[in-house]
Symmetry: C3
Subunit: 201 residues, 3 copies
């Protein structure tokens, strides 16, 4: 129940981030809806496709469809007021990637994949919706260029497997790993830390 | 038989639209062929991958491969005369998306998916070949920015499920829904109707 | 054993080519790693997804992950010296696409696909890592515009099936087809041959 609420808040934040980018590109309502959708479910869809869990999850659980349709409509109607929600949306997004990272890791564990692959799946779940969004909008994905975002997911994933060595309470491990993602992301934004570009002179 | 002819005409129209965009980008023959191919089968390929129907259909039914190879060769050889076919190609393309929308919907129904998901699958089948074409050509997908295209597919899909409530003759529903897609698309182009951009000031 | 060494050398060459493109785009370390990864395994991943062999191969065989991580770290640390390795990397890359083409063809044969589809799968395995790399870096894929690259794979694939008609020693056919890819690519680069652009006036 608690995780479902986070899942929905994260989906809302992802969808609205898609709406904002798409409107900036002067897309029409259909384009805006597709970008919202892809941003919200793209990471999980890529994960499910690569591990062979098809039909992918948003085709089976209608909650995502309704939440994304609602969030998109809301963001289009109140586009001039979205700015006031910027902090809330940032928080939802951040809590969302914490959850999605751990969900992705556990999907990989369920089918017996190696921890490194599980961390890759977690990071993919949390980050690749934004990557596909940026590609569809003809931009180099923002998470490849700046911001501690995927890095937070990777560190959270490492925490998950480190803790699993010592703790048996899997719910506790789940929560702590997610919190690590969230805290690192919050600190990085607060302290304006980003990874350096690797430009080759 | 009748639907097969439409399928082939649609495939030809899609492939040639790919050839034209690729030549405009000064691609070499291999690039042109790939873009033709992706435009023609990309939507169905994405659909099949996401619902887990693999190997995807063009790998099993060789008709598509031969039709696309033929259409690409034709378009390259007669590139200076393609303009005279513009109206025919537009008609083939339009009839094609009518057919592909309904085919996609019925694929979703076969595996028991929700009507909204089926409409999404139909729209994906009809429209995402063009989306992948535009991404490979480094453009923002044209259907996200203007033209009633996906919207026609969505309205045709809604018609399909509305009619299914009242009619039992599934062939009739199939045809009417396809015709709705075609008529909306034709009217929109004829009357120069497009969706407004949602630019945020 | 011999093929495994080639596979690893090819993976290294592909990963480093990804690192170089990504650094040129001023990406951060995470972006560089993802581009290296995608360049190295993208072709095989697309192939496995489209034919339904999931989880895709790099999720099951950890060798690729370690090799790519190592090659990426190496290329980042010694970025100012990579130029001295240019010839070796070009050779590894070329031998790599020879191997990957034939591996892709044989994957298709194993599941009973048509020779044309098998050649498409071989070409996809060898070339589409670079295509996805270029899309993620917001460029039109280089192999669509110039260089005999995919063409070498296609000709190698045709050789494979021509030889299979006459020879029964499948290892021999495997090697000759791969060598044809390599020789055509080397000759094309040596003699500066490329396909003409099909620009439509």
């Amino acid at each position: 129940m608690f995780f479902q609420v986070i899942d929905i808040l994260g989906t809302i934040a992802f969808a609205i981030s898609g709406v904002l980018v798409a409107m900036n590109k002067r897309m029409d309502p259909f384009g805006v809806l597709i970008i919202a959708f892809v941003t919200a479910v793209g990471g999980g869809t890529l994960r499910d496709t690569l591990i062979g869990q098809t039909p992918v999850s948003w085709m089976i659980n209608m909650t995502y469809v309704y939440v994304i349709l609602g969030a998109t409509l809301f963001a289009i109607l109140f586009k001039n007021y979205i700015n006031y929600l910027r902090t809330s949306l940032f928080l939802f997004d951040t809590i969302g990637i914490g959850l999605y990272t751990v969900v992705g890791i556990e999907k990989g564990l369920t089918i017996g994949l190696h921890p490194i692959i599980c961390i890759a799946l977690g990071t993919m779940t949390a980050c690749f919706g934004g990557v596909i969004r940026d590609i569809l909008c003809n931009e180099i994905p923002v998470i490849f260029r700046k911001e501690i975002y995927a890095t937070a997911c990777i560190l959270g994933g490492l925490t998950y497997f480190l803790l699993s060595e010592f703790l048996t309470d899997s719910n506790f491990v789940f929560v702590i790993a997610g919190v690590v993602v969230i805290v690192i992301r919050l600190l990085a934004v607060k302290l304006k830390i980003s990874l350096p570009s690797l430009y080759k002179d």
